[in-house]
């Protein structure tokens, strides 16, 4: 049993060990949908939601697998649950907001292959969090992901107006900015411990 306080879990997951900038999880959507502020915010919301649901599911599955003594099924069952959750969210968004559905495009089904979500499920199992701790962890990770995405989108919207040499344009520029953001987030280390 892990006795870490909720506050410390939250701060650690969202700022100190930010999933994108310190653990490099979820880089694909981070580079892909961070072009516009609006899409970035909604993508962050969708990812946070999937994280919360899959965190609950992962907790249940882990308990079940321990009971039937089959730890080698862990990875396979986690990924199946995440894939079905994403499918559910996809249908929900398609029904509720077709505009958002089009804006997110290919990146919506790709939440399945977002390492941040599988990573979250694996980390919470490794750290032996209780159900409520897992939920706080998922919330923190989701908010951290959204925060990184929004910061990036804000910077990239400004960069549109900047003169950039041809060779640096595109992904290289985004990665350089991400590196600087990552340096910034290092300033949070020591918080919440």
């Amino acid at each position: 049993m892990n006795t870490e306080s909720y506050w410390s879990i939250f701060i650690n997951a969202s700022l100190v060990n930010n999933f994108v900038l310190a653990y490099f999880l979820g880089i694909c959507p981070f580079l892909g949908v961070s072009g516009k502020m609006e899409t970035a915010t909604k993508m962050g919301g969708a990812v946070t939601f999937v994280m919360l649901i899959s965190s609950i599911c992962a907790y249940g599955i882990h308990a079940l697998l321990v009971a039937i003594d089959a730890p080698f099924l862990q990875l396979i069952s986690y990924i199946v649950v995440i894939a079905s959750t994403v499918q559910l969210v996809e249908m929900f968004i398609k029904k509720m907001s077709p505009t958002l559905f089009r804006a997110l495009g290919i990146f919506l089904p790709l939440i399945t292959t977002n390492c941040a979500i599988l990573g979250l499920a694996l980390f919470q199992t490794n750290k032996a969090y209780s159900l409520s701790q897992s939920l706080v962890y998922a919330l923190g990770a989701g908010i951290g992901f959204t925060l990184a995405l929004i910061l990036m989108a804000g910077i990239r919207e400004q960069l549109e107006f900047a003169e950039v040499p041809d060779v640096v344009k595109g992904t290289a520029l985004t990665l350089l900015v991400a590196g600087i953001l990552s340096l910034m987030f290092m300033g949070f280390s020591g918080l919440g411990s």
Partner: protein
């Protein structure tokens, strides 16, 4: 990103199997050109050894899943293909995970959760979907080998630079003299972003130069 996709579908001519192999090394290098599978590339490339191990593990999963997907391509219904691919990949990743644990506990500790995260490496799924599900087993093997070697090379390029500058060594063998001031930033997360950005700039430089003639 859209230009890259059109490039892939553009080529109509039937390429030879050596060509399937070569394209993964340079022209369609998974990391430097397609920018796929970034998470492990950035996360475990802090030393050359970790990078190499991670690259080999990924290449193995890529090869095995390409073979299985290609041989089952006529039996998997179109609607559930992505789910089936992911299940196939997850099975091989579980095998690799246990194999690495059996070979070296230290290495397993260094790579941590990132071995399991090979499942969600976009590179493997994209090869299964874009290539193996449409081509013969032989061609899929060549494609997986090419992409795998390209991935290992790219990871090694990153890992070597980061270890050399951040630690002054290569494969734990000191290269620079004692007086060398290590660039700690290179082994920290930020260094990963910067190193990859620099490699991409190098690749872009050659692309721009070629385009200009």
């Amino acid at each position: 990103m859209s230009t890259r996709i059109t490039n892939n579908t553009d080529k109509k001519a039937e390429p030879s199997s050596t060509d399937e192999f070569i394209k993964g090394l340079w022209r369609e290098n998974p990391v430097f050109v397609q920018v796929l599978g970034m998470c492990p590339v950035l996360a475990v490339s802090n030393t050359a050894q970790n990078a190499l191990a991670m690259g080999l593990a990924t290449a193995f999963v890529l090869l095995m899943s390409n073979i299985l997907v290609a041989s089952l391509r006529n039996f998997i219904p179109k609607q559930v293909r992505i789910a089936s691919f992911i299940l196939i990949i997850a099975t091989f990743v579980t095998i690799v995970d246990y194999a690495i644990q059996a070979i070296s506990v230290d290495l397993h500790k260094n790579l941590g959760a990132f071995i399991s995260l090979i499942v969600v490496n976009c590179l493997i799924l994209s090869r299964a979907e874009a290539f193996a599900s449409k081509n013969t087993i032989g061609k899929s093997i060549m494609d997986a080998l090419g992409m795998g070697v390209g991935f290992v090379l790219a990871l090694f390029c990153l890992g070597a630079v980061r270890e050399l500058l951040g630690n002054g060594s290569l494969f734990d063998v000191a290269i620079f003299p004692e007086s060398f001031q290590e660039w700690i930033i290179m082994i920290l997360p930020a260094g990963g972003f910067f190193t990859l950005a620099l490699w991409l700039i190098v690749f872009n430089y050659f692309k721009v130069k070629k385009a200009k003639g």
